[in-house]
């Protein structure tokens, strides 16, 4: 489980990490949803953004991934490969967005977008489907798969891109326990392949299972950042302690 044993992925390209987030604000219609967030995210460990619903976890992830533009502050990839940052990340959403075509076509579409040559795509599609346990479903229309299969396919699609950083937004929030287990073990395998995992969850059990380090968010503020063990054993803030006790935070 130790992050130190993890090798970086596809050593071909220079790293884009670390990711520096500085003085981030995000406001909509006068309401500040993320407030003066500063954090540096390094390679290796699995970073879990934890917090109650409405804490700003998803926004935080979208800002980091560049899907939305901050009201103030900066998001900067600081590694030597930063110029390629856009192509070295992927994201999986809470509700998988799959194209209206077959499972295999969903993956090869993503590969085409990322410039993978046509001849190389079928092999990588097959590999991705196999890793997700979907090998028998390659011709199945993606929209006709079960919720768990759809999320596994979304994860397989992201995995096929060999991202250096994978963002996951509550990837198991609406899945049944068997699918949760499958998705979590895929995330673990992706991590072991050397991809940096940054994910949000409001599920304490999941955070305990997957986190190497925890960023605890509440009301748009970063309350606490700590190695997972330390966070769960002796949180240094009252809010985190209350959250861990299962209380509803004001």
């Amino acid at each position: 489980m130790g992050a130190s044993t993890i090798q970086p992925p596809t050593i071909l390209a220079p790293t884009i990490l670390p990711l520096a987030i500085e003085g981030l604000f995000y406001a909509v219609a006068g309401r500040t949803l993320i407030e003066s967030l500063s954090v540096e995210i390094a390679a290796g460990s699995r970073t879990v953004i934890l917090g109650p619903n409405g804490a700003g976890k998803s926004l935080c992830l979208r800002l980091a991934h560049g899907l939305i533009v901050p009201t103030a502050g900066t998001v900067t990839w600081k590694g030597p490969g930063a110029a390629q940052a856009k192509l070295r990340q992927a994201m999986v959403f809470q509700r998988p967005v799959l194209l209206r075509r077959s499972a295999a076509a969903n993956i090869s579409y993503a590969l085409a977008v990322r410039g993978v040559p046509q001849a190389a795509r079928p092999g990588r599609v097959e590999e991705a489907l196999t890793r997700a346990g979907l090998a028998g479903l390659s011709d199945r229309p993606a929209r006709m798969m079960s919720g768990g299969e759809q999320q596994k396919l979304a994860l397989a699609r992201a995995w096929a891109l060999n991202p250096e950083v994978l963002f996951l937004d509550e990837p198991t929030a609406s899945l049944d326990p068997a699918a949760v287990r499958a998705v979590e073990s895929m995330i673990q395998a992706i991590h072991e392949g050397g991809t940096k995992i940054v994910m949000t969850t409001h599920d304490l059990g999941q955070a305990k299972r997957l986190a190497d380090e925890v960023l605890f968010l509440h009301n748009g503020h970063l309350i606490e950042r700590a190695p997972a063990e330390q966070f769960f054993d002796c949180p240094s803030t009252e809010q985190a302690a209350a959250f861990l006790r299962g209380e509803i935070l004001a």
């Binding site: 899907l67 959403f93 967005v97 194209l99 209206r100 993503a110 929209r143």
Partner: protein
């Protein structure tokens, strides 16, 4: 009410006996309207999808304009195309006036705004769902337009049908630029107008029934196609 019964009987007989005059008129109607809708779709669908995906200054104004053009009066379009194509007009040298080509041109102008506007609406809804995922993958707006059109294909069939309905039912534009010339530019709607003015109401009504039957058949075929696609691809 006997006229309806007679007309229905006449229509049925003409269809069953495959009356050659009728077949010629129906054939031309289908050829003109299908060609017009195909051309309008080739132009209007990418335009509508681009309006949904691309953000640029003045986008809202273009959307309003295209929505407004859905209500273009066919006679005005017919008159404009007539002026363009008439011998003294800017495109007179093409010699297209009073040919099926002129009718197609007029119908393209009538139908394209409908297809573009309905496509924009469909794609805008779809884009709302897809945007973050496609941006995350690194899809360019250009590629997104084609992706949206392909993924919206089932819903977009409705836009195509709405365009076909408009084209096959209108009379004002085709009668002006086509001239309703027997065996050359006579289509169902212009034939109905002519038979009515000649007083042959039964024949006019019979043609009306045929027009309705054609429209029904086209829509039924589209529905079957849609069901097949849905069953196969979700």
């Amino acid at each position: 009410m006997n006229e309806f019964g007679d007309a229905f009987y006449t229509a049925l007989m003409m269809i069953v006996s495959a009356n050659p005059d009728l077949m010629e008129i129906v054939g031309l109607s289908l050829r003109v309207s299908f060609s017009a809708v195909l051309i309008a779709a080739v132009l209007g669908m990418p335009l509508g999808a681009a309006l949904a995906v691309f953000a640029f200054p003045g986008r809202r104004a273009v959307v309003v304009a295209i929505n407004a053009l859905m209500g273009l009066p066919p006679v005005v379009v017919g008159l404009t195309v007539y002026l363009m194509l008439s011998r003294g007009g800017p495109l007179g040298v093409l010699g297209l006036l009073f040919t099926p080509s002129a009718m197609i041109v007029a119908q393209v102008i009538l139908v394209m705004p409908i297809i573009a506007a309905l496509t924009r609406q469909t794609v805008e809804d779809l884009w709302f769902e897809y945007r973050e995922q496609l941006v995350s993958l690194g899809v360019t707006p250009r590629r997104a337009v084609w992706t949206m059109l392909w993924d919206g294909r089932i819903t977009l069939l409705t836009a195509f049908l709405a365009g076909f309905g408009r084209a096959s039912a209108e009379v004002g534009a085709v009668i002006i630029v086509g001239g309703n010339i027997d065996h050359l530019t006579r289509v169902m709607t212009t034939a109905i107008a002519l038979e009515t003015s000649k007083g042959d109401l039964a024949l006019a009504l019979a043609l009306g029934f045929v027009l309705l039957a054609v429209s029904f058949a086209v829509n039924a075929a589209a529905q079957i196609l849609r069901d097949m696609v849905v069953r196969a691809q979700g």
